[in-house]
């Protein structure tokens, strides 16, 4: 490892030709012409369409289901009620262990039956013919009420909970306590303590205490969940699905359906947006139905189904008490962090508890986390899951304390910001991080520059907040092959959801010192590709990128060895540039990549094929921090908040492709702005979703978002390729807090409930 680091530091000295340069996406032409194939674009012979019946109750017992009338409907091929499903290993404690509930329905819209037909309209018609008799049970909707001892239970008691999916998003080696003892709606809890918080509050000059609420929000990828599955005569299951996690799905399907992993081929089709929400959901049902009917089955969620029954991000209620001395030192932080997990465990309580006390040095901490079940759809990841909820709380507090003490918000943050070696609330020390550098960069942004100029004019305000994400860790591998014409193929197993394959091409081209065009990259399926963890937790470039680099270095070494043998020289006497290997300085002793390719692929070729292999694992995090500034205008009569400007500074470690890094920063920031301004899944007292469409679930439109300023900060990570660190997720984290602080700058009041709708602004102003 030491050797690898040495090589990298040497590399940092020289000018790169491929990495660090803005590059357009290798798959761009297919996407702008509409040629790219997404799961819903697939057509297979004999394919059937699945339509799914959802529960009209948030909590109910199924007394009976009768599919006979639906079966008689002309054109219907099959109807599946819980009793008709093929055998699978059920686990009712986990969402991914259940196709349809046998008995107890736990959320509004939960799938209870399905129909297959070759015409999707016919399948949909038949849904109305399935007769389900329910016995309504009392729904538990509010997480705080759910925690009370007197609350009805959300569900029958949990069995073993599998937390493998959450660990793909954040991997920190800390476990939460699963609930034990008397049944309650608290699925799990955890506590981090350090020092003595009461003593810390005593020492302080200002103490601030508030409760912060954030809403259930939806990933709202434009492509709904989409899957096609087929089961052939040889007993092989193929699944084409819009997922970030093909190998994870393979492993889960293998265990649940009892097929060996080498008989399952999961292909991650082009993902039309995932953001953490497309890991593993409907694939089990589609695979089981395809196995039952032995025909290809396609299931595309309608937008409404996706909003009702996919895995949105949780609401949270954060009680926070913090204190600071007159000179701006944070002395104590006490918090109760409650995440509403919906009907199954899986809420990001752990990262929430780590991050609420993870941005600043603080000697006295007491953080208590709860993961609470309710009769709402179970939650999943959304870009840095759980982070925005707690960041809203702590970053509002930092501003409030600074304001009370008359201190500069950037200075106060710089004074307390964590650095390498500082402990997380769990006690683990941070590796090298760039929080301070992000704060310094945002101070230079155009938006922050308007802070003092625009203040007090026309209800405008400028605010900022920081945020961070720790990232996931999983092994990864890659293969780099030399083709007979001298071009290069790279094969990986990671779904490309952010332009990572383009970055892999850059890395490979850098190592082999060739123009980018000579390299192509493929995401293979789970039977052809080398293993990679899920494309989640911002880890793809950090982990798979490093494997690609190793594989390219391996291929380079093999090519040099071939040349060395031809020239009867040592590999270190050779240089490689622009597709040619040459003996030091020689004009005659050269071998083109094409020649090398032929020498290692032709009939009776003298050398074996060049196949570079790279495989890594890492336990070292490369956390990503961000600082973000917002400029807003508040219409104090209507309560309307207009974002006039927004800037994101983020530590990317080393931006292998600055164009896609900026895109990640701007995209994540826009989702943070949605959380701040308008996104909220609304439920009635019976647990029914009121706004399951893209009209009433208001993600920002072009009219809502000004161009977002992206400022890349580079504090190299210790293990990432060329110093790259996690990138995808941090950008979503700070939006709500930054906008909240900007609103407070404009109108003097902090809003404690996000999103900051006009009605909430007016209430904060006392106008309603």
């Amino acid at each position: 490892m030491a050797q690898e680091t040495e090589v990298r530091e040497e590399e940092m000295q020289r000018e790169y030709r491929n990495v660090g340069k803005p590059v357009t996406r290798i798959e761009g032409a297919g996407k702008v012409t509409g040629e790219t194939i997404y799961a819903d674009d697939m057509q297979l012979p004999r394919m059937l369409h699945a339509k799914v019946l959802g529960s009209p109750y948030a909590h109910a017992r199924i007394k009976s289901i009768d599919g006979s009338a639906a079966r008689q409907h002309p054109g219907v091929e099959a109807v599946f009620t819980p009793a008709d499903l093929p055998e699978y290993k059920k686990n009712f404690s986990n969402r991914r262990g259940v196709i349809f509930p046998d008995e107890e329905v736990l959320f509004y819209g939960q799938p209870v039956a399905a129909v297959l037909a070759s015409d999707p309209h016919v399948a949909e018609e038949a849904l109305a013919l399935i007769k389900v008799e329910y016995e309504a049970l009392p729904p538990v909707v509010d997480p705080i009420t759910a925690m009370e001892e007197s609350s009805p239970l959300v569900r029958s008691p949990l069995g073993d909970v599998d937390r493998s999916e959450e660990r793909g998003h954040v991997t920190v080696g800390v476990e939460q306590e699963e609930a034990e003892g008397k049944p309650s709606n608290i699925a799990s809890q955890m506590n981090f303590k350090r020092g003595d918080v009461e003593a810390g509050f005593e020492q302080a000059d200002v103490v601030v205490e508030h409760t912060w609420r954030s809403a259930v929000v939806h990933q709202s990828y434009i492509e709904p969940h989409s899957t096609v599955a087929d089961y052939d005569a040889s007993g092989e299951l193929s699944v084409w699905t819009s997922t970030q996690a093909p190998f994870y799905i393979r492993d889960e399907l293998s265990q649940t359906l009892g097929l060996p992993e080498n008989k399952i081929r999961v292909t991650a089709t082009e993902v039309g947006g995932g953001f953490g929400g497309k890991i593993y959901l409907q694939e089990l049902m589609v695979a089981a139905l395809a196995m039952a009917v032995r025909r290809p089955v396609k299931y595309i969620m309608s937008r409404k189904e996706d909003m009702l029954a996919a895995t949105p991000a949780p609401q949270a209620v954060i009680d926070l008490k913090t204190s600071m001395t007159r000179d701006g030192k944070l002395t104590a932080l006490k918090s109760r962090v409650v995440y509403d997990s919906g009907a199954f465990p899986g809420a990001p309580m752990l990262p929430g508890c780590l991050l609420v006390g993870g941005y600043y040095k603080c000697e006295n901490l007491d953080i208590q986390g709860y993961e609470v079940l309710t009769n709402k759809v179970s939650v999943g990841a959304l870009r840095a899951p759980g982070a925005h909820n707690v960041t809203f709380a702590i970053e509002s507090h930092m501003d409030m304390m600074a304001r009370e003490l008359g201190l500069d918000p950037i200075e106060v943050r710089l004074k307390n910001a964590v650095e390498e070696g500082d402990p997380l609330p769990s006690g683990q020390p941070y590796p090298r991080i760039g929080l301070k550098q992000c704060l310094e960069a945002i101070a230079e942004s155009e938006v922050w520059g308007r802070r003092n100029r625009e203040r007090g004019t026309g209800n405008r305000g400028v605010g900022l907040a920081v945020g961070g994400w720790l990232g996931g860790l999983q092994p990864a591998s890659a293969i780099v092959c030399l083709n007979s014409d001298g071009t290069i193929n790279v094969t990986v197993g990671s779904a490309d959801i952010t332009g990572t394959n383009t970055s892999f091409a850059q890395i490979t081209a850098e190592v082999l010192n060739v123009p980018l065009e000579m390299v192509n990259v493929t995401t293979g399926d789970t039977r052809t590709a080398p293993y990679a963890g899920m494309s989640a937790g911002s880890k793809t470039t950090y982990t798979v990128g490093r494997a690609v680099k190793l594989a390219a270095e391996d291929a380079r070494q093999q090519m040099l060895e071939i040349a060395a043998k031809r020239f009867e020289a040592a590999p270190k006497e050779l240089e490689m540039a622009d597709g040619v290997v040459r003996l030091n300085g020689s004009d005659e002793k050269t071998l083109t990549f094409q020649r090398l390719g032929r020498l290692s692929t032709n009939f009776a070729a003298p050398f074996p094929a060049v196949v570079g292999r790279g495989a890594i694992t890492t336990r070292k995090m490369a956390p990503g921090f961000t600082a973000q500034a917002a400029e807003v205008e508040v219409d104090t009569d209507t309560g309307e908040v207009t974002v006039l400007g927004f800037a994101v500074a983020q530590d990317a470690g080393f931006a292998i492709n600055p164009l896609s890094v900026e895109g990640q920063m701007q995209g994540g920031a826009s989702q943070g702005l949605g959380i701040a301004l308008s996104e909220e899944m609304m439920y009635d007292s019976e647990g029914r979703l009121l706004n399951g469409n893209l009209l009433d679930y208001r993600m920002p439109t072009t009219r809502d978002l000004p161009p977002i300023e992206a400022i890349i900060v580079e504090v190299p990570s210790e293990e990432g390729p060329y110093g790259a660190r996690i990138v995808g997720e941090p950008s979503i984290v700070a939006g709500a807090a930054a906008v909240g602080n900007a609103i407070a700058d404009a109108i003097g009041v902090h809003l404690t409930d996000a999103p900051f709708t006009p009605e909430r602004v007016l209430r904060a102003l006392g106008k309603l």
């Binding site: 701007q666 469409n693 072009t702």
Partner: protein, 156 residues
């Protein structure tokens, strides 16, 4: 329900299609004509991923019945590139990084083309107004604004 024969121009070519009355234009184009570039993101006209140009006007094809385009002129994303050369708007989306997951991209490009047909040199505000019916979840729109401004300049 028996199918109805309709005749229309799709991307410049006269086409006859037998359609069911309940098919939308989007469904007909994707499933029957097998032009799968136009996407369905919501089915309720709120996301714009299915945008096409009918008789010169931008529409959400998920809310138009196939029968309603009988005798009309339809342009889909597949009709933009000519002889293997990308339309300037398509090229600009690639060059500026306006493409990420790609699912909103066909509809977004149709909206951008339609905007530039009406307003060849739009201001940033006009771009933001012209694309307001097309949701993108990946880019935060910044690079899409750049792409459209870039394409407008390229078209001069």
């Amino acid at each position: 329900m028996p199918k109805q024969l309709i005749t229309l121009i799709v991307n410049g070519r006269r086409t006859e299609v037998a359609v069911e009355p309940r098919w939308t234009l989007l469904e007909m184009v994707r499933e029957e004509l097998r032009l799968s570039g136009s996407k369905e993101g919501c089915g309720t006209g709120d996301c714009g991923a299915c945008s096409m140009i009918v008789d010169g006007r931008l529409v959400t094809s998920c809310l138009m019945l196939a029968t309603q385009v009988d005798g009309r002129d339809v342009v889909t994303i597949e009709g933009l590139a000519k002889n293997g050369r990308l339309h300037p708007v398509q090229q600009a989306f690639i060059d500026t990084g306006g493409v990420q997951c790609g699912f909103c991209t066909p509809g977004m490009i149709m909206a951008a083309k339609s905007l530039l047909d009406r307003t060849p040199s739009p201001t940033l505000e006009e771009v933001r107004e012209g694309l307001a019916g097309n949701l993108c979840r990946c880019t935060g729109y910044a690079k899409i604004y750049e792409a459209v401004m870039h394409a407008a300049n390229a078209g001069k």
